[in-house]
Amino acid sequence: MEVSRQPVSRGDGELRVQRMRARDLLRGPDLEGPELERHIEERVLFTRADRVFAWARSNSLFPLTFGLACCGIEQMHVVASRMDIARFGFEAFRASPRQADLIILSGRVSIKMAPIIRRLYDQMLEPKWAISMGACCSSMGVFNNYALVPADKFMPIDVHVPGCPPRPEALMHGILKLRRLVQDDPESGWRERYGAQGTEELAEGAGPHPAAENVMLPGDTAGA
C-alpha cells in the first residue's frame, strides 16, 4: 500500500492549534502526577482487537432466510415490529448462506432434509453459529418417529430454544444468549467448542477456481 504525504492545506498555525487541542483532550489542561493518571483512566479504554471484533460481530449477526415448519412463523414474528429484532442488529436476513453468520433451524428436520441443511451449514463462512428452535429440532418433539432426525446428529448447535413452538420472546432470548456467547468467547469458534480442531478441509490445487468449492454446478443434482 502506497502512502503519500500531502502538505496540510491550512496554515501552520491552524495545525498547532489542532495539536494543542488533541493534547488537552488526552491529558487535560495542566495536569500532573496522579491527577493526570486518573484523567487518562477515565477517558481511555484498552481492550484487545479480537474483543472489539467479537463485540461488533455479536451485534450484527446475519441470520439465514430459512424456515422449516410452524416455528418459522414465530421466527418471522421476531423480525416484525412488535418484537423487532433490528434493535439488536439481527434483522438482516440473508438469502444466501455465503452471507449469513447464523442459521436458525426452525422446525422439524426430516432425514431427507438433513443433508441439505448440512450443505447450507457448510456453505456458510466462519465464524458461524446455529440455533435449534423448537422441540422437533432438538428432541424431535411429537414427531419422534422414523422420519425425523435431531439436529445435533448432523451439525453443531450452539443454542437450543425449547417450546412447541417457542414464542417469539423465547427465540429472542435464545438469540440474546447467543450474543452473550459470541461476546464472551471471541476465540472459541465452533471447532474449539466441539473439539473439532484439525477438521478443516482446504482445497489444494483443486482446479482453476478454488473459490468455487462446494458450489453446485449446472446439471449437478447428485448428493443434495
Binding site: I111, K112, S139, M140, N144, N145, Y146, A147
Partner: protein, 169 residues
Amino acid sequence: MPDATGLELIARELREAEPDSVLDTVFFRERATLLISPARVRSTLAWLRERGYRFLASVHGADYYPDEPRLGVLYELLDMERVDRLTVKLRVHTEDPRVESVTPDWPTADFQEREVYDMFGVHFEGHPDLRRILMPEDYEGFPQRRDFPVGGEPVLFTFNEAQGTQYTD
C-alpha cells in the same frame, strides 16, 4: 353416497358387466364400499367411470395387520354431478403385493400410488415411474406397515440424566 340398496344395485350391474370382480359390499356409517378383486381393478374403475364416477378423489393404503390379506388399497371415487361418493377397496398379501396401476386411466393416481408404494410397499404394475416419493430413495422398509418399528430417538431428559447413556433401558 349411494344408500345400501343403491350399492347393491351397482354391485349387481358390475357383476354382470365384470364377472368375478366384486368380492363383497360393505355399507357402514353411510359409507358405501365395494371390495373387489385386485386383478380387476382397472377394468372395474373404468366401468364405474362410465357410470358417472368420473373423479378419482384419492388413492390410499392401509395395513389390516393381523388380518389377511394384510394390505389394502382404497380408491375414493366421486360423481360430481350427483355428488355421490363410492369407495373401492382391494386387499393384497404382503408376500406378493402386486396391483395393476390405474395411472394410465387416471393421471391423478400417479403420485398417490407412489405414496402407497413408499409407505406400504404395494407394487403397482404398469406405473410409469414407481419410485419413493416421501422417504429417501435409499430408505429400507415401508414405514407405515404395522410391523415396522416406530423408530425415533430416545431423548435425554433431566430426570434420566443420572443414568448416563443407559437411560434407554
